[in-house]
């Protein structure tokens, strides 16, 4: 059992963020996942991202479907409302919650089973609506909670712990999201917190749906020879495109990343995301070139990671629709109800 221990006593020596909160204030209940599970590393990265962005935990809402991955919202930010909904249906819950209250920070956590099989339709349409949220797929190429069946992202030739071999073409959530117009698409690896945290931070600030596919090996059912989602395989085959270095307006985070070609992308909240390209000529704003590049590298057996695509003038669902700026949940009844006189007036047309 891995832990995200929750300390009740404050440690005065712990680093505080602008809100005066320590990392511990962003932690959740103890994880019940298997020791070494990739999902737990992602949880740690999520905690880090919220902490570093000085986001008040109670202003966030954590949503998920069903699966080992979907259990993780319990393991971070105990002071946030959480909603572990039903299998594959997190996107609809998130769309509704966001429709009602556009002011909160939404983080949706899903698995490859949850998002690419039963929930693929809901995911596509949440992407299409461009719901303002961070959407994580903790991708282990399988249904772990039901004990290791192949998911739609299992690579051809993968072998399950039970010895069966997958024969179907995998669905790549990154390519899928790009094809249907996603405004923010990234991929990372649960073991690479250095890359992941900035991506999550960028995603949290993106005004629209930020989809992050995170390769997250399942130690119990997948970490054996033949599995292409295992730690070993992923570490060897990952090909890093860009590091995302998130630069909030208030203070600039400097990390000791290798330098290289960089490109700044202005987020809609005014903050700037800096891409550090490893591949030559990589432009995360040109959808078709990104697709082509991903395919090209993919043909070489490489998994490209980084913030792969961002639409600079992304408009979230509410902006498209023209919803009022305040959350609908806070509009007083008086402004919603036209009143008795109007009712009499409008009934003229039913005479």
């Amino acid at each position: 059992m891995t832990h995200t221990p929750k300390a009740k006593v404050r440690h005065p020596g712990l680093k505080k963020n602008a809100l005066g909160l320590t990392r511990r204030d962003y932690e959740g209940s103890m994880s019940t996942l298997c020791a070494g599970c990739g999902h737990d590393s992602i949880t740690a990265a999520v905690i880090e991202a919220f902490f570093e962005l000085d986001m008040p935990p109670h202003r966030a809402a954590k949503l998920s479907g069903i699966g080992c991955s979907s259990k993780t919202p319990t393991y971070f930010m105990n002071e946030s409302h959480g909603f572990n909904s039903v299998h594959g249906r997190m996107p609809a819950i998130a769309s509704g919650a966001n429709a009602a209250n556009r002011d909160l920070i939404y983080i949706g956590i899903s698995g490859d089973g949850d998002s690419l099989s039963i929930g693929i339709g809901q995911m596509c349409h949440a992407i299409r609506r461009n719901v303002n949220m961070l959407y994580l797929i903790e991708n282990n190429g399988m249904y772990a909670l039901t004990k290791g069946q192949f998911s739609a992202s299992a690579d051809v030739g993968s072998r399950s712990k039970w010895g069966k071999s997958n024969v179907q073409t995998p669905i790549d959530p990154v390519l899928l999201a790009l094809s249907i117009g996603a405004t923010f698409v990234a991929r990372s690896f649960s073991g690479d917190r250095k890359q992941l945290v900035p991506i999550l931070k960028a995603g949290l600030r993106h005004p629209g749906l930020a989809m992050v596919d995170i390769i997250s090996p399942c130690v119990t059912f997948n970490d054996h020879e033949g599995s292409t989602k295992s730690y070993a395989y992923t570490r060897e085959n990952k090909f890093e495109v860009v590091h995302t270095d998130f630069v909030p307006l208030t203070h600039t985070i400097t990390a000791d990343y290798e330098s290289g070609g960089t490109r700044d992308v202005t987020m809609h909240d005014g903050s700037v995301v800096r891409f550090r390209k490893i591949a030559e000529d990589f432009d995360p704003t040109d959808r078709k070139r990104v697709e082509a590049y991903l395919r090209e590298r993919g043909d070489q057996g490489e998994i490209v990671t980084g913030l792969l695509f961002i639409e600079e003038d992304s408009q979230d669902f509410h902006t498209q629709q023209g919803t009022v700026d305040e959350p609908l949940t806070q509009v007083p009844f008086e402004r919603l109800n036209p009143g008795a006189t109007a009712l009499q007036e409008l009934q003229k047309k039913f005479r």
Binding site: N84, S85, A97, V324, P327, T329, P338, Q344, F350
Partner: protein
């Protein structure tokens, strides 16, 4: 029984030819004359080119259930001439387009034929095929104005209102009316014996369909989020809401929307969006029909178990499966009462007319938030899409939404610890908090096992404690759903029980039966779980004829399970052909049971106790008439 202010007409046309507006004009004119009237639109699940009918019943005594006894048939579709001619009651009239001669085989001795060269006149006076097709309809309206003595001033007034901004169209329409009117006056004795007599304007009533009224209810209840997927016959509910929002829900300053309507990718998503929004604290709803409810089943169970408010309109159509999407039925009662796997039970409201669609929509939101659970408003195509005359809708400006037990920031600041599923007040209803309000309000919502503190559990006792409270909570709603409407007649020992759109047919049937010496009380059920009054009423009557617009007697089944009454006292009358219920369905069903073998209270070796199969035969006992 036909005569002045007491007759039924049926108009057969081709869909997609614009006859709907002509028929609407007719309806509205009659309505404005102050005479009780109803219109039933019998349309195909198709966009253009298939037969469609519109039936208008006028009844001074206020009986406006559908009746298949047509005094006048306006046969505008040659493809259905034979059927249309056959349906005129003996002694009735057939109005047809005499531009082409009528097939001799269609002649009937016992009815009068009113031939008017509608197409001929139209082609002569109008140009452009579009105008010609549209004006044909107006010509028959004109003829009916003369034949039925509709007030021409009212018709003029209506045209003026409709075409206020399109004077050209106005002229054409007016000309068409005149063509028909003049021709009828010239060639036939007008008015017919069946005609109208103005009874004065009834400013206290309106002509409205249930979906529009429900949309208004949602508007007035303060609903802000609507999520839906188009499906007949529910689509016009969200269309209506959307229209009203455009009119009344723009922020005066910014012009922005004080609402969020999401056309979802399917019904599953629509339900999920409603749940997400309800969880966040918005009044949210969806509208659908049977197939949508089936698809929402999983989510409904989640909302029940995780205790999330939301309103679901089920405008029922004929099932099973896709069934007949443009026909009416009450086939979802059982499903809605217990929707989803596992032990579940839901609050359901049954509006009996568009007026109640309005008021019950508002109640539905109050109940949903009070009981923190999905609430269903179950109407049907007849109530939802047909125009009914109902009293003007009223609104009390002192109404404030019942948000139920929601702890705000201040409450949370002052309490020690918040537990989401604890029965603090002993009424089975816990407190809830909304996201984003206060750190102390945070909790984890889940569809998996949880204890009263909101934590995950697989422990039997903890699990049981929560589901037992849920049961108490929903049972407790029985005294909060609308009470049944009860009508008593002196001396009645037996009664009719019905719900929803069956009302007008039952009301009329009660009169007919009384005339025949069968005096019955009547209870119209308006909510589920059943109020105690329901059981009391049933126990007071030695026999209760439960009227169902479905094949399997679903209300009968619900009462059998849920009401405190011996099932031997419940008999079943069923009609499920997809047309709005008529009095004769009820009358013949009851009569059959009364003349029956008395096996209702006994137990044969076969058959379902209390549900003799007699009622299935309703249609065969009224001879030939299509029902």
């Amino acid at each position: 029984m036909s005569g002045v202010n007491e007759f039924a007409i049926k108009i057969g046309t081709v869909n997609g030819t614009g006859s709907a507006s002509a028929n609407g004009l007719l309806m509205q004119a009659i309505f404005r004359m102050g005479i009780p009237v109803s219109g039933k639109n019998v349309f195909p699940s198709n966009i253009q080119g298939l037969p469609t009918w519109y039936e208008i019943r006028v009844n001074g005594a206020g009986h406006t259930a559908r009746t298949p006894e047509y005094d006048l048939l306006v046969a505008m579709n040659s493809a259905t001439y034979d059927r249309d001619v056959a349906e005129v009651r003996s002694g009735g009239y057939l109005l047809y387009d005499s531009t082409w001669p009528l097939d001799a085989a269609l002649q009937r001795e016992d009815i009068s034929f009113i031939g008017i060269p509608i197409a001929g006149m139209g082609n002569e006076h109008f140009s452009g095929s579009r105008t010609r097709i549209l004006m044909k309809n107006i010509v028959y309206v004109g003829a009916l104005v003369a034949l039925l003595e509709i007030d021409p001033e009212i018709v003029k007034e209506l045209l003026e209102q409709s075409f206020a901004r399109k004077p050209k169209l106005m002229d054409a329409n007016y000309q068409a009316i005149k063509l028909g009117y003049d021709y009828a006056r010239e060639h036939f004795e007008t008015p017919l014996p069946v005609h109208l007599e103005k009874t004065g304007p009834r400013n206290d009533s309106i002509l409205i369909d249930g979906n529009t009224a429900a949309a208004l209810g949602c508007l007035y209840a303060g609903a802000t989020v609507a999520a839906w997927y188009p499906i007949t016959p529910s689509t016009s509910l969200v269309d209506g809401f959307s229209g009203f929002c455009e009119q009344y829900r723009h922020d005066p300053e910014s012009g922005k929307n004080l609402f969020c309507i999401i056309q979802a990718e399917d019904e599953l998503a629509a339900a999920g969006i409603v749940i997400g929004a309800g969880w966040s604290g918005a009044r949210a709803f969806t509208a659908t029909s049977g197939p949508g409810i089936s698809l929402m089943s999983e989510f409904i169970g989640l909302a029940y178990y995780a205790e999330i408010p939301g309103v679901i309109f089920d405008v029922q159509r004929a099932g099973p499966s896709t069934g007949m999407p443009t026909r009416t039925q009450q086939g979802d009662l059982l499903m809605v009462a217990y929707a989803s796997h596992g032990d579940t039970k839901h609050i359901v409201l049954f509006p009996g007319d568009p007026g109640e669609c309005f008021t019950m929509s508002v109640s539905a939101f109050d109940l949903a938030e009070r009981f923190q659970t999905p609430v269903f408003v179950v109407s049907d195509l007849d109530v939802g899409m047909n125009d009914w005359v109902v009293p003007r809708l009223e609104w009390d400006d002192s109404y404030r939404p019942d948000r139920g037990k929601v702890l705000g920031a201040e409450d949370l600041e002052n309490i020690d610890q918040f537990y989401r599923y604890l029965d603090v007040d002993g009424d089975g209803i816990p407190y809830r908090t909304l996201p984003g309000v206060h750190p102390k309000g945070a909790y984890f919502t889940r569809g998996s096992g949880h204890n009263q503190f909101g934590r995950y559990t697989e422990d039997s006792e903890e699990y049981t404690q929560v589901v037992d409270r849920l049961r108490r909570k929903i049972d407790g709603a029985a005294s909060h759903v609308p009470e049944p409407e009860i009508v008593r007649r002196p001396g009645a020992q037996m009664a009719i029980v019905a719900l929803g759109s069956s009302h007008p047919a039952v009301i009329e049937a009660l009169d007919i039966l009384e005339r025949d010496g069968v005096v019955l009380d009547y209870m119209r059920i308006r909510g589920f779980p059943f109020a105690d009054t329901v059981g009391e009423f049933l126990r007071e009557h030695e026999r209760n004829f439960v009227v169902d617009q479905n094949r399997d007697g679903q209300l009968h089944s619900l009462l059998t399970i849920e009401a405190t009454v011996p099932k031997e006292r419940l008999a079943s009358v069923r009609y499920y052909g997809g047309m709005p219920l008529s009095a004769h369905h009820v009358v013949s069903g009851v009569n059959e049971l009364l003349q029956g073998t008395g096996t209702v209270a006994e137990y044969g070796e076969e058959g379902r106790a209390g549900i003799p199969d007699a009622a299935d035969g309703v249609k065969s006992r009224i001879g030939g008439v299509e029902v």
